[in-house]
Amino acid sequence: MPNPRLYKTEAIIVRQRKLGEADRILTLYTPALGKLDAKAKGVRKTTSRMSGHLQPLTRCLLQMARGHASDVITGCETLESFQPLREDLDRLSRALYAAELVDRMTAERVHSFPTYRLLLDTLRRLQQSANPDLVLRFLEMRLMDQAGFGPRLDACVGCSRPLEPEQHFFAPQAGGAVCRACVPGLAGPRVLTLNGLKVLRLLQRGSYNDVARVNVPPDLAQEVEHHLRSYIVCVLERDVNAAAFIERLRREERNTEPGTGNKEGQGAPCS
């Protein structure tokens, strides 16, 4: 079947960069085509009819024309603008982290509907969840599973014996949890508490509703975040830029409101 010159697709805009005088290159994540770059012409002019519909973190319906290097957006309409994300800096910074993570973890034009669905669900959850950080942990774990990089948590990555219910270690470079006996000789193992292992397993196998029902105290949330972050850095071989901004917001909140620096809802029950 010949490729039609014009086609329509739904897409979530994950990233943008400037091009020339008034154009932008947008990175889209689509349900059927995966991630792709598209050129949006003239969207930096105030008179552009498309610019409002083509902001990052928008789900929209696009009319596209095939181009030489990248496809060109010829028409668009917003399907979902995720307005609550744009009005709250804490939620916005987490949504940007989600978008950046999906962008970095996926290859161009490799379609994966589950990944699209995961990104969409994540943005929707971030709009209303009392614990946006837990939403991100769920995204991180599932995204890595979908990309084939999921950490091994059922058995020790060293000796393949099932893990006893006790404290173990997490070794990002080895690819998962390790028992005490296998730790010597491994690079960068960190203590993995039993509760930490349980939360990681739940993130890997449970549904989001199961995860959201769990009450994760702040120090456990921090442990899980640390393990997943170091694992992602190991897989991507780089850090995720937006993480630094989230970290900064947390730091400043702690500094300005001593004693109430726990607004992230890490300790709050969330269902």
């Binding site: 990233r15 917003t78 400043e252």
Partner: protein, 205 residues
């Protein structure tokens, strides 16, 4: 860019190479500009060359508002007619030109030189935010207008600043969002339309 052909004289090739470095200039445009300069009267070429050098030598950032200027503090910061109780915060020096064109703002400015873009690793520490806070400590200023661009980065910057400025007890405002002059309602996006509805005005006939 390809190696210049031996038919091009070396100084000309060098000029083409320099033009090619400019944004939006491709190899053909670079050649055209270089040949145009070649045919220009010597005095005009001299004027262009000295203008480029002068910009590099004399232009600095105003120590008060961080705008580009040849005198420090800049003309706006030292102007007698200016309202010193209002500061309008913008992303780029070019935004000041746009606001000045309207002739309806008489306060001072502050240029951030960018916007927060977490995905690109541009955080608050890369902007001139510390300088803004230092200006506000004097107590002369009563209102800060956040005039960042109405896009994701601009909004993130405005939200971050309002969080930072909140405890200072100033009035922190932002430019209104709504439909552009000459726009079309049917093409307006939901966000803009919602904001336009929220900020609707009574019409006086």
């Amino acid at each position: 860019m390809n190696e210049p052909s031996p038919a091009t004289a070396a100084p000309l090739a060098r000029l083409i190479q320099e033009f090619y470095k400019l944004p939006g200039i491709g190899p053909k445009s670079a050649q055209r500009l270089a040949y145009y300069l070649l045919r220009m009267p010597a005095a005009e070429a001299q004027a262009l060359a000295s203008a480029i050098l002068e910009v590099k030598e004399k232009i600095t950032l105003c120590t008060v508002c961080q705008n580009v200027t040849e005198i420090d503090p800049c003309r706006i910061c030292s102007g007698q007619q200016r309202d010193r109780t209002i500061i309008c915060v913008v992303e780029e020096p070019l935004d000041i030109l746009a606001l000045e064109r309207t002739q309806s703002y008489r306060g001072l400015y502050h240029v951030l030189h960018g916007a927060i873009s977490p995905m690109d690793g541009i955080g608050p520490e890369d902007l001139k935010i510390a300088d803004l806070l230092a200006r506000l400590r004097s107590g002369e200023v009563t209102e800060v207008i956040l005039a960042t661009n109405p896009n994701l980065e601009g909004e993130a910057t405005a939200m971050y600043l309002s969080r930072l400025l909140g405890p200072l007890g100033l009035s922190v405002t932002s430019l209104a969002r709504g439909l552009p002059a000459g726009g079309d309602l049917e093409y307006a996006d939901d966000v803009t339309l919602t904001r336009a509805l929220e900020g609707r005005l009574e019409i006086r006939g």
